[in-house]
Point group: C2
Chain length 237, copies 2
DNA sequence: CTCCGGTTCAGAGCGCTGCTCTCTGCGCGT
DNA sequence: ACGCGCAGAGAGCAGCGCTCTGAACCGGAG
């Protein structure tokens, strides 16, 4: 009976996959606002009401796509970082950052889905949390490795993390940063924010008439600056 | 005839204002996706088709609201900065940054409109450019004043701006930064990006389970760090 | 004062959307 | 072999953006 049940479940899972695939295509073509359950159903040759057997509402479909998008950018970061030698911490950092930007430029609508304004009445289900953390895990691991190798030397002359950050830092330390200091953790969050801030600004047109000639270089400069601040010093140096 | 024409135009302008006001309220209540021309018309006691005499499409109404939002955050920044003594450059910077965050937290949907994913098929009319520049003008002026007062000392030990940034920097220098160096201009853009990146992350829930206890302090830390990097050193020092 | 051009509004209507409900039929497990 | 459950079909509801047509109005010209 297990096999038969899996048979039913399998065709169901396949159909869910097809729906998501078509939806992802429509999303990529005309954005979240243009995603229509009826259009997806039409393209799949079924009637609109049938879709509701698989996704109880349009928002649920969008949520599934959000999770997939988080997962995709996380995978892109992981892959780019894994291609670097483990002891080249700066290279790993730069590769991770560039992977975020590259993925975002290739999938602007999906990026907008996860780092833009929440589409409908905003729900933000908890399910996204795990998928959303993948990039952060990678970046934290780079810092950790550099620290363990004794190659993490945070830039002096900057203000310390506020005292009120201690409790948050403690939670993050247990989950990700092991034995990094509050200051470094705060800088890591700021770096993470900067990276996505740049990509969002670039994608949403805020750099029009501001940065025009070489945005890739400007992005690299931001990523490199953040690396310096955190202490991922250039090479052996 | 001038008077009569103005009479007609006046009632027209008034009605446009009323429409925008109701639309802004609906926007604030349920976000851009929930903004409905029919609902606005209903609330104003007119039929939906009449709205089209004033705004040729829903997107045009949204565009008007976008410009208003840019203007509002620009005004908030200007006001906060103007309240500081002119020679307290760091205070002026911090006040400007805090004004952005405060306004965004008070008007999340309007903020999402200007710093979130572009709503429909994305058009981004040029009209928004001038309104969007107001905050940048303020921040650039602070840097300029500090530089003229000889109180701008950029943090050493960070990578220089890429060579390809020179042409963009030149354009920005002529428009805003007068005689600041390419490096400082690049850092100013990065600071600007960081500020909005933080606010966006906070608003869109990226800091859930990450920064929970005191986000205001964390934001201040980001703003202060950026000030240090640019060279708006703390007080006389 | 009358008439005329232009602006504004009312209303109907088109095609689309998300979503619900009912009904039929096929496939699976017993 | 039979009955149950799930997938799909189809109609329908309310809402949306947007268009078109006709009626009311209002200020200036003859």
């Amino acid at each position: 009976m297990n096999a038969s049940r899996t048979a039913r479940e399998r065709v169901r899972a396949e159909l869910i996959g097809e729906i998501k695939q078509v939806a992802r295509r429509q999303l990529a073509e005309q954005g979240a606002a243009g995603l229509s359950l009826r259009a997806v159903a039409r393209e799949l040759g079924m009637v609109s009401s049938a879709i509701y057997r698989y996704f109880p509402s349009r928002d649920d479909l969008l949520t599934a796509l959000i999770i997939e998008a988080f997962d995709a950018v996380g995978a892109a970061v992981e892959e780019a970082e894994a291609a670097c030698p483990r002891d080249r911490h700066l290279d790993r950092w730069m590769a991770s950052c560039r992977a975020v930007r590259t993925w975002a430029l290739a999938h602007p609508h999906e990026y907008a889905l996860i780092h833009g304004s929440p589409v409908p009445g905003y729900v933000a289900p908890e399910d996204t949390a795990v998928a959303a953390a993948r990039d952060g895990i990678v970046m934290a691991r780079i810092l950790r490795d550099a620290h363990e190798a004794g190659e993490l030397s945070p830039l002096p002359g900057l203000p310390p993390a506020p005292a009120s950050f201690a409790s948050d830092a403690q939670g993050l330390r247990e989950a990700l940063f092991v034995d990094l200091s509050d200051d470094v953790i705060a800088r890591a969050l700021a770096a993470w924010t900067s990276i996505y801030g740049f990509v969002s600004f670039e994608l949403y047109g805020m750099y029009r008439n501001v940065i025009e000639t070489d945005r890739a270089a400007a992005f690299d400069h931001t990523a490199l600056t953040q690396a310096h601040i955190m202490g991922l010093a250039p090479a052996p140096r």
